[in-house]
Amino acid sequence: MNIQFASFNEILAMGGHGLYVWVAVTVSVAVLAALLVVPWQSHTRALNQVRLRLERHAGGSAEEGVD
Amino acid sequence: MPWVPELARTPSFLAYVRRDVLLAYRRLGDTVAPLIFFTMVCTLVPLGLSPDPQRLSEIAPGIMWIMALLATLLSIERIFAFDFEDGSLEQLLIAPQLIALPVLAKIVAHWLVTGLPLTLLSPLLAMTLSLPTSAYPAMLLSLAIGSAYLSAVGAVGASLTVSLGRGGLLLPLLVVPLYMPIMIFGTATVFYAVDGLHWSGPLAAMGAMLCAALALCPLAAAAALRVTSA
């Protein structure tokens, strides 16, 4: 279980293939992260919409009560 | 078998086919358009690529097949669209009968007015693209079988998109990936014939695929019609 590379620069270089490896890793991780962030955001947005409608309803009935 | 009396109650299969062919004949302009398209785009190839007979003959099978596929795509939308617009599709769905049977009839009719004329037209275009004459039988058979498959699979796509209105690019998006295998075997049949090899192998694969498509696609299209045009 030893790391194959002696220094951080070697890790970045990947024996000359650094560009390919790290581009592949970056893009993949970004897409995977998007697969978590996108549904999370749409979940929050959907909940917020429900909340908004509830508040509007509550506000509407309160006004009716005042009338 | 509870479906037997239902089958007996439906108008005969041939009556459905006759009706659709007749309707296509009445709308001759729409029916002929894909054929003209097929011819015109095949003319583009020598203009855009090279008039050299040697080079043309090398790519002719692929060109013919791609154009046949595109011509079918142009016309497949109409397989249910007219019936949807004038309400006869709804009548069909309400009627207590197997929908798959009239759907199969529509597929056959579509092939009769698109695939078959395309196939009959193909020798003319093959000649202009300098395809070797020895490959003509293979080309005719592969286009005849292949275009029937294109009609059958296209009917599923058309049934899914029938209620979404015309002019969309959605239908090609759904159907083109499903067309890829048959095109591989179709062009391979012609390429084999050009090279003087036995071309019955890929043709048999196409026949098997057509049988499967004719058995399954009407069922899938019928199920889709029930969903989308309800």
Binding site: G16, Y20, A24, L35 | P177, P181, A220
Partner: protein
Amino acid sequence: MVTEVKKWQWFYRLGSPRWFYEITGRWLPWLLCAASLLLASGLFWGLLVAPPDARQGNSFRIIYLHVPAAILALVGYYIMALAGAVGLIWRIKMSFMVMKSAAPIGAALTFIALFTGAVWGKPSWGTYWVWDARITSMLILLFLYLGVLALQRAFSSAEMAYRASAILALVGTINIPIIYKSVDWWHTLHQPATLKLTSASSIHIDMLQPLIVMICGFYVFYVVALCLFTRAEIIRREATSAWVRALVSNESSR
């Protein structure tokens, strides 16, 4: 009668969006931990610890993203079609929601597989794109996913979109083996003699271990993403139901 009901209870409970939402809410933190742990350790192991390939050097390390993504992309299509079939047969709305959620995940994973494959191709074959059998099949799989996604968004009625895209997914499922076989055969027909894909059979055990970790990580990640997408879909679809309203008002009163 009573036992009959009990026997199928789990099935119907599974079909309840509320139950799904609550149970995944409890599991998700753990699943997310497991996924990130597996992926992080697998990536560390694969990128830094595993020995370099004798022929391809360090560029082979892309395999640790490429292969798991490709596997899950393909498995994901079957999961999507299966969920669609369950929805169509038993008329379970929950199942349709899972099917809808599987489409964007599958498309994204197919994209990862294609992208990493292209980037890997440059150092090992000298070109980003080859019309190799497996690559071409992956591209067609992406088209199939895009078709399902486009159809889902085309309908104004959610119910209609569910059913139509489920049918399309099923038709695609029948076609996938045909596509793979035909493309494979097509490739032998036009074999470009210079290129040879990785001989996967002779992969060394030290390289295989991190790959297995990554594959497991992708599986768990897939489940997490599927749950997240499905939960969002549940809230959108069940926005007017009593339990969602109660959930929201409980949250805001807290």
